[in-house]
């Protein structure tokens, strides 16, 4: 839509302007027309002004106009989708399709990112003593090199209680940060909520809207008795624009808890097996955070009744299962230089007659560089139900992603069986997974699976390390698959 015909531009007001502002703007502009020029029938300039005012001054017409404006404006997000089948036959039974969706910043729009408001929440319970804590310390010091002058950093430690080691502020002196961090000593228990709530308090000292706000939790243990409080807090602050990432060190931490903790903001959870990897994990995460184009990207599951989304998984920029239980599916942040891709497993109810099915993909996102808050973006994926549907091979990239994802899900099922006490079923599932991993050429994970299978058969349980290696190992496989090919 060109400026000449954009009603907001004609009146010279912001798209978010109030009715009063619009009236005032109209009055001023109208005053610029001498009495004899105020004839809409002969003066096109005056007609345009009058049209613009009539539409924008009427809330109903304005809303309609706004929705059209969004659709016709140059999209601030480019959305693409690919399905395992675009045609399905007439059937008596449920049909399953896989949808790979790719969201990215439009070309040339990768600029003007917000500064970071970063808080590191560090577990300093007794078990962190030694290599773990010293690796965390050096990682924090190294992070300082990745921050720009506008970025804000705070550091909070916790055991049974929280302590603000570095209050939220610009990083003036790296030596000061290093000095503060070096003084952290390990002792006490693990109460994650204490750390999170102190961290959120620090982060809120700044106007959240002006920053990319992210909290990174590093822990090596289970939290006691405050799981629900932690999850509630995460959910609550994710709505205010604070994202969560959580990394578990060693093997004693609760992976299900960390997965759920980051789910409400679409953040990342990860397994740091050896303390020396802490630096890599943190630097990678921060590099991603420093280039965020759109925040708070959400998919509104506004699907027709005949469609059920069974499973969702984010593949790029990192592999993470999506939480489908909420009213919106939280996808997290979109990095400017990388697309955000996710996979949906969709079941379509039986279709006895030929038809076209629209799968609406309705997103909302904040795009700070364009002053957009909770802006809506639409995309449709169409599936045709035909009597003689063409049999087309699914795209290889999608097959690969589904294959890897299936191995991750097979591994999750093993654990479900273990928890339910069905050890023989668990062992059988693990054996099958071993075979599939071997077929995929993932010999290291296959060996891991094989030895866990032995443990299941002999000791009746899995090792904590093995369980996490398999979980995060198979999860990472999904991330290694390729995404949609773009024309560029």
């Amino acid at each position: 839509m060109t400026g000449e015909f954009n009603y907001y531009k004609i009146l010279g007001v912001d798209p978010q302007a109030t009715t009063d502002t619009i009236r005032q703007a109209f009055a001023e502009l109208r005053a610029g027309f001498p009495q004899e020029m105020r004839d809409a029938a002969v003066n096109p300039a005056y007609r345009r002004l009058l049209n613009a005012y009539e539409v924008l001054n009427n809330p109903e017409r304005r809303a309609t106009y706004d929705s059209l404006l969004v659709e016709t404006a140059l999209p601030a997000l480019s959305i693409d989708s690919l399905s395992s089948r675009d045609q399905i036959g007439l059937t008596e039974s449920v049909q399953r399709i896989y949808l790979l969706v790719d969201v990215r910043a439009p070309e040339q729009e990768v600029k003007a990112v917000l500064p970071l408001n970063l808080c590191l929440v560090i577990d300093r319970s007794t078990s962190m003593q030694g290599t773990r804590l010293s690796c965390v310390k050096s990682a924090v010091e190294l992070i300082a090199d990745r921050l720009t002058a506008e970025d804000i950093i705070s550091v909070v430690t916790f055991s049974d209680r929280a302590e603000v080691v570095l209050p939220a502020a610009h990083l003036d002196s790296k030596a000061h940060l290093a000095g503060q961090v070096r003084r952290i000593e390990a002792s006490g228990g693990t109460e994650i909520y204490q750390g999170l709530s102190a961290a959120v308090k620090e982060m809120r000292k700044l106007p959240l809207k002006e920053y990319t706000n992210h909290l990174i939790l590093l822990t090596d243990g289970h939290t006691y008795g405050d799981v629900d409080e932690c999850l509630q807090l995460a959910q609550q602050v994710s709505r205010q624009g604070i994202g969560f990432s959580a990394f578990g060190i060693g093997s004693e931490w609760n992976d299900e808890f960390l997965d759920r903790l980051v789910a409400s903001s679409g953040g990342q959870s990860g397994f740091i097996e050896s303390p020396t990897q802490i630096v890599d994990f943190l630097q990678q995460r921060i590099t991603g955070l420093g280039a965020i184009y759109a925040q708070n990207l959400r998919l509104l599951p506004d699907f027709p009744k005949s469609i059920r989304v069974q499973y969702g998984f984010k593949i790029v920029p990192f592999a993470q299962p999506l939480d489908l239980d909420n009213s919106t599916i939280q996808l997290g942040d979109l990095e400017g230089r990388s697309p955000l891709s996710f996979l949906l497993e969709v079941d379509i109810e039986q279709q006895p007659v030929e038809t076209r099915i629209n799968i609406p993909l309705l997103f909302t996102a904040d795009i700070p560089s364009q002053g957009m808050q909770e802006r809506t973006f639409r995309h449709h994926h169409r599936i045709y139900v035909l009597a003689d549907a063409a049999k087309v091979e699914p795209p290889p990239s999608l097959v690969k992603a589904v294959r890897m994802l299936n191995m991750y899900r097979m591994n999750e099922k093993v654990w479900e069986e273990v928890e339910a006490g069905r050890l023989d079923v668990a062992a059988t599932r693990m054996r099958r997974l071993t075979t599939r991993l071997l077929e995929a050429g993932e010999t290291q994970l296959a060996h891991e699976a094989q030895s866990e299978m032995g443990r299941l058969a002999q000791a009746g349980t899995m090792s904590l390390e093995g369980r996490k290696r398999l979980k995060y190992g198979t999860r990472a496989l999904v991330n290694q698959t390729i995404t949609l090919d773009h024309d560029d």
Binding site: S84, R85, I88, T91, S93, V94, Q95, R96, I97, Y98, D347, E393, P394, V399, V402, R403, N406, M407, R409, M410, K413, T428, R429, R431, R432, L433, T434, T435, R436, L438, E439, T443, A446
Partner: protein, 170 residues
């Protein structure tokens, strides 16, 4: 609904991979043992097999060393009753003692139940189980289901996977 041909689990139509065993469910690319071109080559006729009547099962436990040059795998298996050779089969969950999945068994034409190695009163014998691409012992293609004596140092080809076999000739 469609049925997984590997494990028999039911899945909605259009599912790509079996949720139970991970098998690929699209018919066009079913995983059956590939028929390799060399299967058609005529080779020298093998010497006669041992007669079945001469075979008494032996209770003596033997240690066999297998070396697979292509994948640089080397390992020792105990020959108690038999050592089955093949590829792990998700359908029946049977994993043969000598599992060649890792050695690209599928691409190299190893059947799931390819051959078996048994201890008998006449020494260690090798029996091809009617595999798709056959078993070749020191360049002789073995007829199916006939026992052939093995010597330490023998070269056996299951499909296109070459295995060297060593044991103490007692």
């Amino acid at each position: 609904m469609i049925k997984c041909s590997d494990c028999g689990a039911s899945q909605p139509e259009g599912t790509l991979f079996c949720s139970e065993c991970g098998g690929f469910l699209l018919e066009s690319t079913k995983k059956t043992t590939t028929v390799l071109p060399f299967s058609q080559f005529a080779e020298r006729p093998p010497p006669p097999p041992l007669a079945g009547t001469e075979l008494e099962p032996s209770s003596e436990v033997r240690r066999l060393i297998f070396v697979i040059p292509a994948s640089r795998r080397r390992f020792t298996l105990e020959l108690d009753k038999e050592i089955r050779v093949g590829r792990a089969d998700p359908k029946s969950d049977v994993v043969p003692e000598l599992d060649l999945t890792q050695d690209n068994g599928l691409e190299k034409g190893v059947s799931r139940f390819h051959a078996t190695i048994m201890a008998s009163s006449r020494g260690i014998v090798l029996i091809d189980l009617g595999s798709t691409n056959g078993t070749v012992l020191n360049s002789y293609r073995l007829p199916a289901k006939q026992p052939y004596p093995l010597q330490s140092g023998d070269e056996v080809r299951f499909g296109d996977v070459l295995v060297h076999l060593f044991f103490n000739n007692t």
